[in-house]
Each structure stands twice: as structure tokens, then as C-alpha cells.
């Protein structure tokens, strides 16, 4: 653990605190009286007062915030007004679905994106580069929902290799799970793969003409060692940066993708909460999403320092 990581950790905690304040204040700023919603049919002033007293709504706003954070830290995110279930339970049910979807998409994006990017850079000016660029542009231009529908028509209906909807936990039936997750992962990962490809290609072109690559060639290293061991290693800093920035898109993209493929994940939970005005659920979902985003960015920064010693060791030049 060095100074760089400690600094980043401190920054992450501050961000998380700010997020919790915004989420808390945002819910309070919404129109409507929670006591009214909770009271249901019995709306006598006495009943409302009793509810306000019971839920601590009369307390100072800072005290209320303190209670909210205290509960959140112990895993109590409240109870959904719609389902009557603890918010945390719903989130924990949805989380594995979205995590798997995100992980598969990320894997696809990294493998395809970096692979195609390196190929395009190494075979510069050849048909390979042209093809990789064209596919990347296509991947960037095609809207998620359209690609989803086309893939479903092609590979779930015309040639039913994959399933179009529903979710089976990986632990229950790994094969069936993958059969259902492949199409959503392609839909969610294709845009990211295109971005990664273009960034990888750009970084590789820069690095392949760098002086240290000339040194590596002068050492008599094979083309593979020069490209993989030297140029790619340096290009990864750029690629990881882009991945970190794009993960936000992955989270919002998951909302649409889960809707298309009817996956009971985080995205679906969010949309349902919005449409049914399930504020407690929304609060929990937003808090968790933000925390995940902050965590991912922290992980990206840790990765940086692993890849680039100049960051790890705090050097200049």
C-alpha cells in the first residue's frame, strides 16, 4: 500500500459520502409526503403525526441523514413500498444477473477490442486494418436496441442457437445460463469493443513508432515480443483509462439490454422502481450503482499503477 493508493482511497470515500448526501437529499426533495403514502386510507391528522413520530420524520434533517447512513452501513436500505420486501434482498437478487452480464460484455470488449486494435495497428495500410476499422465503426454506430432485435431474430428465432429471454442462474444450469447470456453480452459489449479497438489501435500506432520499440528491434527480439511485450504493454495504460470511463456506459447500457432480453437484473430493478415510484428502492439502487462506479474507478487506478511504474513510484518524466 503506498501513498498513491491511499490518496485514491481517501478520494473515493469522499466521493461516496457526497453521493450519499445527494441521494438522501434527492429523495427528500421529491414532491409528496411520505407519511401520506404510508398512512394509506386512514388520513387523520393524529395518524399522520403518529407515523411521522414513528419514522422519525420530525427529527432534524442531519439526524435523519445520520440514521440513513447508519442503516445503510449495516445493510439496511429500507423496505420497498411496492413489494414489501427489504430493498437489500431485491438488490442482492438482481446483482448477480447484472454482474454476469457486465463481466461477459467486458470480456468480449477486451478480447475483441484489444485483439482487433493490435491487428489493425500491426497490419497498417493492409486489408486487415480497413476491415477492423469498418467493423468498429459499425459497432459504434448501431443502436443497442436495434442490434438486440436483429440478433434475437437471427440467432434465437431463425436459427435458434441462443435463447431470446429469461434468466437461469449459472449455478443451476451453466450451459442454459450461457445460452441466455451470450446475446445480451454481445449487444452490450459491441459498442465497448469498438471503442476499445479504436483506442488500442491509436495507442499501438504511437507506441510502435516509439524509440524504445526501435531498441527492442535492435536487440533482435521477435516481432511478437516487440509488439506484445513492448508496444502493447505501454498501450494498456490508454486502454485501461478508456475502459474505466466506458464502464458508466456499461451500467446505463445494461438497463436497456436487460429490458430487451427480459433479464431480472439491476437495470430492470431500476426501471421498475422508477415507473412505480418506489422511492426506497430507487434510493438503494442509485446508492449501490454509484458505489459500484466508484469501486470500479478505484480498481482502474490500481490497475494503472500496476501497469505503469511511473504512477506507482510517483516519478516524473
Amino acid at each position: 500500500m503506498n501513498r498513491y493508493l491511499l490518496t485514491r482511497l481517501r478520494q473515493s470515500l469522499i466521493t461516496l459520502f457526497l453521493v450519499s448526501v445527494v441521494v438522501f437529499a434527492g429523495i427528500r426533495a421529491l414532491p409528496g409526503d411520505p407519511a401520506l403514502a404510508l398512512a394509506g386510507e386512514e388520513r387523520s391528522p393524529q395518524a399522520l403525526a403518529a407515523i411521522r413520530e414513528a419514522y422519525g420524520l420530525n427529527d432534524n434533517i442531519v439526524v435523519q441523514y445520520g440514521r440513513f447512513v447508519g442503516h445503510a452501513l449495516t445493510g439496511d436500505l429500507g423496505t420497498s413500498a411496492r413489494t414489501g420486501l427489504p430493498v437489500l434482498d431485491s438488490i442482492l437478487d438482481a446483482l448477480p444477473v447484472t454482474l454476469e452480464l457486465a463481466a461477459l460484455s467486458l470480456l468480449l470488449a477486451v478480447v475483441l477490442g484489444i485483439g482487433a486494435g493490435v491487428l489493425a495497428a500491426v497490419r497498417r495500410g493492409k486489408a486487415t486494418e480497413w476491415l477492423a476499422n469498418a467493423i468498429a465503426l459499425l459497432g459504434l454506430s448501431v443502436p443497442t436496441f436495434w442490434l438486440g432485435i436483429v440478433l434475437v431474430l437471427a440467432f434465437a428465432i431463425a436459427v435458434p442457437i441462443f435463447a431470446a429471454s429469461g434468466y437461469v442462474p449459472f449455478g443451476t444450469d451453466p450451459l442454459d445460463n450461457l445460452r441466455r447470456m451470450v446475446l445480451p453480452a454481445i449487444v452490450l459489449g459491441s459498442g465497448l469493443a469498438a471503442v476499445v479497438m479504436r483506442q488500442t489501435r491509436g495507442a499501438m500506432l504511437d507506441n510502435l513508432s516509439a524509440d524504445y520499440v526501435r531498441t527492442a528491434r535492435a536487440k533482435g527480439l521477435s516481432r511478437r515480443q516487440v509488439v506484445g511485450g513492448h508496444a502493447l504493454r505501454n498501450s494498456l495504460v490508454t486502454v485501461v483509462t478508456v475502459l474505466g470511463l466506458q464502464l458508466g456506459h456499461l451500467i446505463s447500457g445494461a438497463v436497456v439490454t436487460e429490458q430487451i432480453f427480459v433479464l431480472p437484473g439491476f437495470g430492470k430493478l431500476t426501471i421498475d422502481a422508477v415507473f412505480t415510484r418506489d422511492y426506497t428502492m430507487l434510493q438503494g439502487v442509485v446508492l449501490c450503482t454509484s458505489a459500484a462506479y466508484i469501486l470500479v474507478n478505484l480498481a482502474v487506478d490500481v490497475l494503472y499503477s500496476v501497469i505503469d511504474p511511473r504512477i506507482r513510484l510517483g516519478g516524473a518524466r
Binding site: R217, A218, S222, R310, A316, R317
Partner: protein, 352 residues
């Protein structure tokens, strides 16, 4: 130090594995390099020949853009595909011109090594010094990771880096420019190459650091019998380090001579111009240094003429219509129709 070359007090007698005594280890014949672009062709090097023997330091001098670096990149086979290279490059009896990338990569770093002008950017910023030195050992000598690291520590000590055991685990950004150039030398000499090409190895460095780097090169040639091709535009460096000098102008060799002879009796008007443009201690401070009038010609054409004619005070009609060839090899060769007589008054001491 080395397993291949015994230590010897007489560097001229040290023989790399492939060389027969007296014969050159590196022999370049009629090397021409041109670069094509959409609109024109640039002839960067025009029929250049030189050779260098074991334990010898050959300096190639000339101003920026005269083709010094392109020559060495061509010898290494490191030029981009836009370059057309013709001629012959023989390393210890092996022809390198026209060799495949695979054949070349087996020679590079092993028999033929190079250090570059830019020590700040020539090392990979994300790999440790030890890894970058070890890489070449593992590639050519099949050492294990551990052996390569031990040898890397020895090599760092050889090039004069203090606390090599600690430095071997450090990254380039933790080292100064001079230290990085020493690391580059360590990489270059790791496999005891027969020939080391040093392309302006001291240009980017402070004068005090320069002296240290030149010392390292000198001691390597003495200890390992390495033939060194030293490319520079610094005549002080030449005076310090070189046995023989090849002067290039606009892609062609104009004069070739033993170093002391070149400084005392330069025969080509261009060489004389170069030498008289060097500051000497004890010189009148008020006088303006003589300069060579005019500009270096464009390299787009290969005229059948002396390329220096337009700037030369001795030039006549013949200089503009016929290309002078290098005079036959008698130790001191010059490509000029009107060479300065060997006995003409000379500059005693060019620098330092």
C-alpha cells in the same frame, strides 16, 4: 569479462569469433539508401563504403542530414519499408543486405548491436532495467530468468553504474540521462557483439557525462575487442575516441583517413571547412569563426558532379560535370578533383 573474447592488453589483436586477423569484421560496400514518397525520391546515402576491424573505432562525421544515421539504420536493417537499400553489408563473412527479418533478428543484439542518440526515450518506461537487459540475453544466449538477472547486474557494473544490485530492479524514469545511456550500452554489449554502432551516443548528454560515456566505450573496445562505429557531428568526440574517420557530405563519403592525419592534414575542402569552424583554445576571441558558405544541397538528385562544388572555393568546370571518386585505398582517401596538397599547412589540433 566475456566468455567469447579473452581479455587482452592489445585491443587490435582481440578477435571476435567470426573474424580472421586483419580482415574487417564489418564491411559495407556501395551502400545506397533512398526513400520514396508519392511526389519524390530522396537519396539519403549514395554508394557509401567503409569497413571496420576488431578493436577499431571508426568515426563517421558530417552535419545533420548527411546520411550518417540512415547508414547505420540500413546496416542494422531497421529502416522502414519506404526505404530502398542497395549494396552489400557483410558482417564477418555473412551478407546482411537482403536478409529476411528473421535472419536479421538472429544477428541484431548478438553480433551487431546499436546504441541510439536519445537515451531518455530509448528504454521502455514500463519495464525494469534488469528485464530490458535480460531480454537480449534470454533471446540470444538462452539464459534463464535468474541467470539473465545475475548477468544484468554484472553488465551494469561493467558500464559503471553504481549499486547495480539495486539499479537492476529500477525503472528508466528513476535514472538520469547518462545512466540511461549506460544501460543502453549494457544492453548493446550484453552478448559481446563483434560490432557496436553508436549513433551520436553523447549528443543528448552534458559534457561531463559525455566524457564518462566515451570512457565506457573505450574500455569496452579494449576489454572485449569490439569494433565500434561511432557516428557523431562532434569533432571533439572524434579527436578523443576515433582511430579512423570517414567524413560524409550530402550522402556521400568525401574523405577517409586515420584520425590524427585527418586533423593534421585534411585534404577535402569540406573537411578543412569543418575543422576550421571548430573553436580552439587560445584562439583570438574577437575574430569570427570561418564558415562554409551556402547550404547543403537537396538530396532529391544524384548529380554526376561533386555535391560540394557549389560551396567550394576551389571548384571549377569539372567539379560541376563529373563526380569525383574516392582515391584508391592508401590509408588516406579523398573524393575531390582538387584535393588540398597533403603537405599544405594544417590545423595542428582540432579540439581539446
Amino acid at each position: 569479462m566475456s566468455t567469447a573474447h579473452p581479455k587482452t592488453a592489445h585491443p587490435k589483436n582481440a578477435e571476435p569469433a567470426s573474424a580472421v586477423p586483419g580482415t574487417p569484421v564489418l564491411s559495407v560496400r556501395d551502400l545506397s539508401v533512398s526513400f520514396r514518397s508519392d511526389t519524390r525520391t530522396v537519396h539519403a546515402v549514395d554508394s557509401l563504403s567503409y569497413e571496420v576491424a576488431a578493436g577499431e573505432v571508426l568515426a563517421i562525421v558530417g552535419e545533420s542530414g548527411c546520411g550518417k544515421s540512415v547508414t547505420s539504420m540500413a546496416v542494422m536493417g531497421l529502416l522502414p519499408p519506404t526505404a530502398t537499400v542497395t549494396g552489400s553489408v557483410r558482417l564477418g563473412g555473412r551478407e546482411l543486405a537482403g536478409a529476411t527479418e528473421k535472419e536479421l533478428s538472429a544477428v541484431r543484439g548478438k553480433d551487431l548491436a546499436m546504441i541510439f542518440q536519445e537515451p531518455m526515450t530509448s528504454l521502455n518506461p514500463v519495464l525494469t532495467i534488469g528485464r530490458q537487459i535480460g531480454e537480449v540475453l534470454r533471446r540470444h544466449q538462452g539464459l534463464s530468468r535468474k541467470e539473465a538477472k545475475e548477468r544484468a547486474v554484472e553488465l551494469l557494473a561493467l558500464v559503471g553504474i553504481p549499486a547495480p544490485e539495486r539499479r537492476v530492479a529500477e525503472y528508466p524514469h528513476q535514472l538520469s540521462g547518462g545512466m540511461r545511456q549506460r544501460v543502453m550500452i549494457a544492453i548493446a554489449v550484453a552478448c559481446d557483439p563483434a560490432v557496436l554502432i553508436a549513433d551520436e551516443p553523447t549528443t543528448a548528454l552534458d559534457v561531463t557525462v559525455q566524457a564518462g560515456i566515451l570512457e565506457v566505450l573505450q574500455s569496452l573496445r579494449e576489454r572485449l575487442g569490439t569494433a565500434i562505429v561511432l557516428i557523431t557531428h562532434d569533432l571533439g568526440v572524434v579527436a578523443d575516441a576515433a582511430d579512423r574517420v570517414l567524413v560524409m557530405y550530402a550522402g556521400r563519403a568525401v574523405e577517409q583517413a586515420p584520425a590524427d592525419e585527418l586533423f593534421t592534414a585534411p585534404r577535402h575542402p569540406y573537411t578543412r571547412g569543418l575543422l576550421s569552424a571548430v573553436l580552439r583554445p587560445g584562439q583570438e576571441g574577437k575574430r569570427r569563426l570561418p564558415e562554409i558558405p551556402g547550404l547543403v544541397p537537396s538530396l532529391a538528385a544524384q548529380p554526376d558532379a561533386c555535391t560540394f562544388a557549389a560551396r567550394c572555393t576551389h571548384a571549377d568546370e569539372r567539379c560541376g560535370t563529373a563526380r569525383p571518386a574516392l582515391t584508391p585505398d592508401t590509408g588516406h582517401r579523398v573524393a575531390c578533383w582538387h584535393p588540398v596538397a597533403a603537405t599544405a599547412p594544417a590545423h595542428e589540433e582540432a579540439a581539446r
